[in-house]
Symmetry: C2
Subunit: 405 residues, 2 copies
């Protein structure tokens, strides 16, 4: 069994998926005026689908509609827009989100129950439905449209996030492709992060939902740009079986291979999202070993990636390991200073509680890289977790202090 | 019964307390070179004392020593320094913290068990004990030294935080005075925040400890600058009875008055700390009503004050109320969008889930104030809580990205 990355792969790399996008004028001006902002992704044939959504108690109307549709079991397409999140809009928001699925269904020759909807952008402003009604019928979907889809859902993202992997075994080959958007308001529990994964493998629906949730907890839910969760976060996975080959069923070697490929896609999207965090200069990857439990390992890893003091130290390429240890100490996980070891960019700074000498200037230069790696060994147990984030720069503040006004 | 503020009051306003400070050269250069950095506060007579400390599992050596001394029940003085936090220094740090109390005791003619110690500044660097040994004997303590003490413990603070109140009743008058330092790494659970409160009332020791913990939970523990808790946080309260008058005992009207005065001091210190958060342009006060429980009310209030997106919106004077509601939605407290109301600077923006029209420019101008007030009514119960924080500015990033390097 082989899992190989496909250069320039995306959500239309798997067979039987088409996508496309237009500029519907969702941005009156500013940020993305004139760029793609309304998009469709559709499977040519029936699908199984899995999804996970924001756990914020305040949910955008599109998330409410998506969850209903996913439960109906017939999803095979999604309409998505940027520029307006259609959240905090009361009952009118729900009507608009529903109408978007109806418009998309009518355009694609599907039933509304087959269409999911996602929106990202400003909150508390009614969707400009006249623009959606005018723009949506203009969207042509084709086999090359994956990248246009990925770009249409961008907001403050500085690049599209896309990837695909091929999975080869004795039964043949299938593909898993994905795209995501998200730059600020990103945190576990699916912050304003939209992600879509497609595969032409045939995957049993219950298994697909379970793997979607499991893989999200290891990858996208371990990502944090700013600790703020959005009310719109969505990960949808579509499996249409167009590649042929045996169905992927629970407990089989094929299920494990599919899980690995799904994780590879979600991990790559997670890293692409972390690297493009609002104002980010560098990505942070934290790996925690030796925790008493998986929950503890995740708590420590996430607390470090969300600490403003750690994030600003990384922005300054400052080997201020004390901030990392102190963040770990408030994570709510079991920790003993005298048993804790730490490496920064591979350099051992703390060996079971004892600070190690290091050359500050050398480490400062090592930290001035695109990726900063923090390894913590709690020395208490066997649990391991990884988390991803980015540094906190003055640019983050500019982006978010000036977003609306 | 009357509780009145004392202009320019501080920790030596209550009778029988003396303080003083010197420049011991704890800062080799930079930030505070040449300024006061080593200080003493002492009661002329025996005291009862109460204290609360960081809940971070990584604790600075001074906190470890302080807790031991508090348990011994004889505390009446504190030696404190800025420039070095004496934390993450292993067993050597504990020895140095102990020696500081011994040096102070010897200088003041006390037993080491009567002296607490606090240190704030860089972590993971051994205390320059030769400077402490040379500087400490030079400290003269007197009745006017409260302000020097408050200034010596400052790090990135831009002003000293001090206040005092007089409590008058039929038995006479007594005073409660306080000072605090803290600007970054400030968050509930006592982040690098040092605070000292003195009173010349006589307060029964058990009552004093209980009131200290209760009042801290309502005031200093509801403060957050950046969500990062320090390993050095300390609040110590000394009551020496020098004012005469009956002892303050549990269940009495005098106990309630003392509690009100202690709260007034801690609340004032909390507001002074919030206003001086690292890089802060404005203070944020959040008041949550209608929560199902006190824990829920506190969770929502604190989540709002720690949200980077809320904090950057306040920095931009942006009436982006959606960010506030969405932060509340991820607080882990019961919340129903359709029952939630919100006021920003007194203006009703959300009435039981329905957005209210408002003039964006007018509200933008109202938000460009020194204090921003957010009121949220969850409409679910009777619990109320307040929390304090500050906006997140580019200056915060500058301060913390450049702190050591």
């Amino acid at each position: 069994m082989l899992i190989e990355p496909i250069p320039n792969g995306n959500v239309t790399t798997p067979q039987g998926f088409r996508a496309g996008a237009v500029c519907a004028g969702m941005y009156a001006g500013g940020l993305k005026a004139g760029a793609l902002d309304l998009a469709l992704l559709v499977s040519d044939r029936e699908c199984s689908a899995g999804g996970v959504f924001t756990r914020n108690l305040v949910k955008g109307a599109p998330v409410v509609v998506c969850r209903e549709r996913l439960a109906q079991g017939r999803l095979r397409a999604v309409v998505a827009n940027s520029g307006n999140s259609n959240s905090l809009n009361g009952p009118g928001g729900y009507r608009d989100a529903t109408e978007m699925t109806e418009l998309a269904a009518s355009h694609l020759g599907l039933a509304p129950e087959e269409v999911a909807v996602s929106s990202t952008g400003v909150t508390g402003v009614a969707m400009p439905m006249e623009k959606v009604r005018a723009g949506l019928p203009r969207i042509g979907v084709d086999r090359d449209g994956g990248s246009a889809f990925a770009h249409a859902i961008m907001t403050t993202d500085t690049y599209g996030k896309e990837c695909a992997f091929a999975v080869r075994d004795e039964a043949g080959v299938y593909y898993v492709g994905g795209c995501a958007k998200g730059s600020g308001m990103i945190h576990p529990d699916m912050a304003t992060m939209l992600a879509y994964v497609t595969t032409d493998a045939a995957v049993e629906r219950g298994l697909l939902q379970r793997l979607t949730a499991e893989v999200a907890d290891e990858t996208l839910n371990m990502l944090s740009v700013d600790g703020d969760t959005s009310c719109s976060d969505t990960l949808l996975v579509f499996a249409n079986g167009a590649a042929g080959g045996p169905r992927v069923e629970a407990g089989s070697a094929r299920a494990e291979a599919f899980r690995d490929a799904l994780r590879a896609v979600c991990l790559q999207l997670t890293r692409l999202l972390a690297r493009d965090g609002e104002g980010a200069g560098r990505m942070i990857e934290v790996e925690v070993h030796g925790a008493v439990s998986l929950a503890d390992a995740r708590r420590v890893a996430r607390t470090i990636t969300t600490s403003p003091l750690v994030k600003t130290a990384v922005a300054g390429a400052d080997p201020n390991w004390g901030r990392i240890l102190v963040a770990a100490g408030r994570a709510g996980a079991a920790l003993e200073e005298a048993k804790t070891s730490m490496r920064l960019q591979g350099e051992l700074l703390l060996d079971r509680g004892t600070a190690q000498p290091f050359d500050e200037e050398t480490l400062h230069q090592k930290l001035a890289a695109d990726e900063v790696r923090i390894e913590l060994d709690l020395g208490l147990g066997d649990a391991v977790a990884r988390a991803w984030g980015c540094d906190l720069t003055t640019e983050y503040v500019h982006i978010n202090a000036d977003y609306r006004t």
